[in-house]
């Protein structure tokens, strides 16, 4: 497989200006470090799941890739060509044909006064790619491949006449009509009902197979990423905490943050009575990216943090098997055992050990959840 996209040290720092005077004088009071130095490579035909909570910078990363947001540092290469400084409508035209984005909310993406046909035809028109009969054919083909069949039945309707799932299919058709190579999908199924969600995920995988598409799939839901992605990258406060093959990241996380996310991933199977599944519920919320903690940025919420974490930021350590984690424990090679402490019933197999109260009670207090009776930190702002 050849590499399609590469990001090197990409940063997006938004200046904070507190007053009108600041704005006028272009004076900065600090920066929101939305994306704070990430390296990422995606192979052709691959699905990379980018997972993180709100405020982790995952959407900004997606916007940088499709060149909707300017990076403040770093390099971007697409298909072997440096596109870091590619700006301006004219120069971006070819790039935009090859890289498309699907947003989360189809209600906001679609213009309520534009028919489905016109929405899908617009990119062709704007880019002067096809006209007349050819344009019609491409629009209809895109609608059909997005699963809106027969296309003639949907093409001349307005968005309000469609269901949520159908609208998201229209948005996908709008991205497909350009015949792109890379699709950045920003939470494409988060607004949808379970049954519709499954159909859309299936559609996206089917399209990848047919057209050898490459996806950057952005989601806050680790379990959705696990289903659709070949590799998963976990972001926290603008940095990649862990990256690796989907199955490895889920089954043997090497970063405590990933382990905590897995431990709270909801499951539709209730725990057998009398057992207690230990979940690592982190107190507070992702801190504000204007006040990134020193050292490892996860340390204020990390149940395993030690001295070094407070002062030194860990790099991504290769832990083998294509997996890397940005954690001092990964360097020492002890992360595996510690992750096992955090996720006592990590899915080593389909069998879930009937983990009795005694078993979980015997676990070291490292992953103890501070919640009941404790004081959940207000917004988790480290000061």
């Amino acid at each position: 497989m050849s590499e399609l996209l590469r990001l090197e040290g990409v940063e997006v720092h938004f200046p904070v200006r507190e007053s009108i005077a600041d704005v006028l004088l272009r004076r900065e009071r600090g920066f929101v470090r939305a994306v704070d130095g990430i390296d990422l490579a995606i192979d052709r035909g691959e699905v990379l799941g980018l997972v993180g909570e709100s405020g982790s910078g995952k959407t900004t990363t997606g916007r940088v890739i499709v060149k909707l947001t300017r990076q403040t540092a770093g390099r971007i290469a697409f298909d072997g060509r440096d596109v870091t400084r590619l700006w301006g409508q004219r120069s971006l035209r070819e790039f935009r044909r090859r890289v498309q984005i699907v947003f989360q909310d189809p209600y906001e993406t679609l213009n309520p006064r534009q028919t489905i046909h016109d929405f899908v035809a617009e990119p062709l028109e704007v880019n002067g790619l096809a006209r007349g009969r050819e344009r019609e054919e491409r629009v209809m083909a895109a609608l059909e491949s997005a699963g809106l069949r027969p296309a003639t039945e949907y093409a001349f309707r307005y968005p309000h006449e469609l269901s949520g799932g159908q609208r998201q299919r229209v948005v996908i058709a709008g991205a497909l009509v350009m015949d792109p190579e890379l699709v950045v999908a920003d939470e494409p199924v988060s607004m949808l009902d379970v049954s519709i969600r499954t159909e859309l995920l299936q559609l996206m995988l089917e399209l990848r197979r047919q057209r050898n598409l490459t996806y950057l799939f952005i989601t806050h839901d680790l379990s959705v990423a696990w289903v659709i992605a070949d590799r998963i990258a976990v972001m926290y406060l603008g940095r990649i905490m862990e990256i690796g093959p989907a199955d490895r990241v889920i089954r043997s996380p090497r970063h405590p943050y990933t382990a905590a996310l897995i431990s709270v991933a909801p499951t539709p199977r209730p725990h057998p009575p009398g057992t207690h599944v230990k979940r690592t519920i982190l107190a507070g919320e992702t801190p504000d990216a204007a006040h990134v903690p020193s050292g490892c940025r996860f340390h204020p919420r990390c149940p395993l943090a030690f001295d070094r974490c407070r002062t030194e930021e860990p790099p991504l350590f290769d832990v083998g098997g294509g997996q890397s984690a940005s954690c001092w424990l990964a360097e020492r090679g002890t992360a595996a055992e510690l992750a096992a402490v955090l996720v006592p019933d990590a899915p080593g197999g389909a069998v879930r050990a009937p983990d009795g109260p005694s078993a979980s009670g015997a676990a070291p207090p490292l992953g103890q959840t501070p919640v009941p009776g404790g004081v959940p930190a207000p917004d988790g702002q480290p000061r």
Binding site: V194, L201, V227
Partner: protein, 423 residues
């Protein structure tokens, strides 16, 4: 600190029960509820004969896809319905008092004071131009007739209780994060010390970690305050983690109802099975997803017979013709599906004991035989990651299933006051 606040806030119900309340009656019994919307194009019955019961201190989850009547069911309890909606039949008995018969004015006594709601989008439910503390104090002043000072003092206690710093009451909603807003909504719902709190998709818009925090909070409140919870969500995993019982609705009717363990370990209704298969499950290592083909029916024109039959992989002739009766199993689970005919291993659910948590075993027959376990193994020929369409070979031969053939079914127990499930 928090436990202390809890004891001050509850003291096990500070306000007297309504005058007509019968303290020995069950907390909430909903029987045969039907709610209709009048549309230009005709009538739409969003809730069509739903019955259930909620006991003191219990948490009941209501599950189903969008448009299956979950929210309408909950809003019907206190008639917080849009103008074109009307309860046409059934009863909602709170301590034996039928709320359906109450006038709007009389119902004010029950809204928020006895049954309160945590709405889905806290940003939309909170007033953006008022401080959250004032908003929490408002029902205390309006509904309980307390002074403003008392209301604000209690608002601070409530903020403490939901794990928010007390001084955050001075914040406006936009100054709070999503999780904090949802905590403020919960504080508001608890303001009048209600008997029942309804959560309408309370965690849907939140991040996983914040969702886990909110669910933990609800669980703690239920334990500490002895609350009864009704949790409406399309996310079965939320119900599995917080509720005692689950009610799965489909197209305005009950598909399956029972204890969370019994239902989720052995889902009997094909819809429940499909719904469960539609979730990725990291804990069990299942990386495949089931597709529920098709969409929920248009309720202006629902399909005849069982409403799930157009999407059901096990559909039989009888499903297209007759509405399946609700059958209760020895383990207390109630299912409306022709694969589980009465007299097999379950009995026809009776109006009186329809929602009793522990129905006496009426039949010694082993539970669960007819429905094959949903296939959990990744299908070899499937699209990577996703399960293929239901394997046709797995569909039971209709002849093999001890099926209702349209002959009058002999109920095990004669139904004296039975609300016969009308086809």
């Amino acid at each position: 600190m928090t436990a202390d606040a809890a004891s001050r806030v509850t003291g096990r119900r500070q306000w007297p029960l309504p005058k007509l309340a019968d303290p020995s009656a069950p907390l909430l019994v909903v029987d045969g509820l039907r709610t209709e919307f009048t549309l230009e194009a005709g009538r739409l019955r969003a809730v069509d004969g739903v019955s259930f019961r909620l006991d003191d201190g219990e948490a009941l989850g209501i599950a189903g896809e969008s448009g299956c009547g979950k929210t309408t069911t909950a809003l019907s309890l206190v008639r917080l319905l849009p103008g074109n909606a009307r309860i046409v039949d059934g009863s909602v008995k709170l301590w034996g008092i039928d709320l359906v018969q109450k006038t709007d004015r009389a119902l004010q006594r029950y809204r928020w004071r006895e049954i309160s709601i945590v709405f889905q989008g806290a940003m939309n439910a909170l007033n953006p131009v008022r401080r959250v503390g004032d908003q929490i104090a408002e029902p205390i002043e309006k509904r309980l007739g307390q002074s403003r000072a008392a209301g604000l003092a209690r608002a601070r206690e409530l903020l403490d209780l939901v794990g928010m710093p007390r001084d955050r009451g001075r914040a406006y909603p936009h100054e709070l994060s999503g999780g904090m807003r949802q905590r403020a909504m919960i504080a508001m719902a608890l303001a009048c010390d209600p008997a029942i709190v309804i959560g309408d998709e309370p965690t849907t818009a939140l991040d996983v970690m914040v969702q886990a925090q909110i669910l933990e909070l609800l669980e703690r409140l239920r334990r500490d305050l002895g609350l009864s919870l009704m949790l409406i969500t399309h996310d079965l995993s939320v119900i599995a983690e917080t509720c005692d019982r689950v009610l799965v609705m489909y197209a305005g009717r009950v598909a399956e109802e029972g204890g969370v363990g019994a239902v989720f370990d052995h889902p009997r209704h094909p819809y429940t099975q499909k719904l469960m298969g539609a979730f990725p499950d990291i804990a069990s290592g299942r990386r495949t997803l089931d597709v529920i083909a098709g969409q929920p029916p248009d309720l202006r024109n629902p399909p005849a017979g069982c409403r799930f039959h157009p999407r059901c992989p096990f559909v039989m002739q009888v499903c297209r013709e007759e509405q399946p009766p609700e059958v209760r199993f020895p383990d207390g689970v109630r299912v409306a599906c022709h694969l589980h005919p009465p007299g097999g291993d379950g009995v026809v659910a009776q109006a009186a004991e329809r929602s009793a948590p522990d129905a006496p075993p009426q039949s010694p027959a082993p539970v669960l035989a007819a429905v094959p376990e949903p296939d959990r193994a990744p299908d070899a020929g499937a699209v990577p990651g996703l399960a293929a369409a239901p394997d046709l070979a797995a569909v039971p031969d209709p002849a093999a299933v001890p099926g209702p053939t349209g002959v009058a079914r002999p109920p095990v127990v004669p139904p004296p006051a039975a609300r016969t499930p009308a086809p």
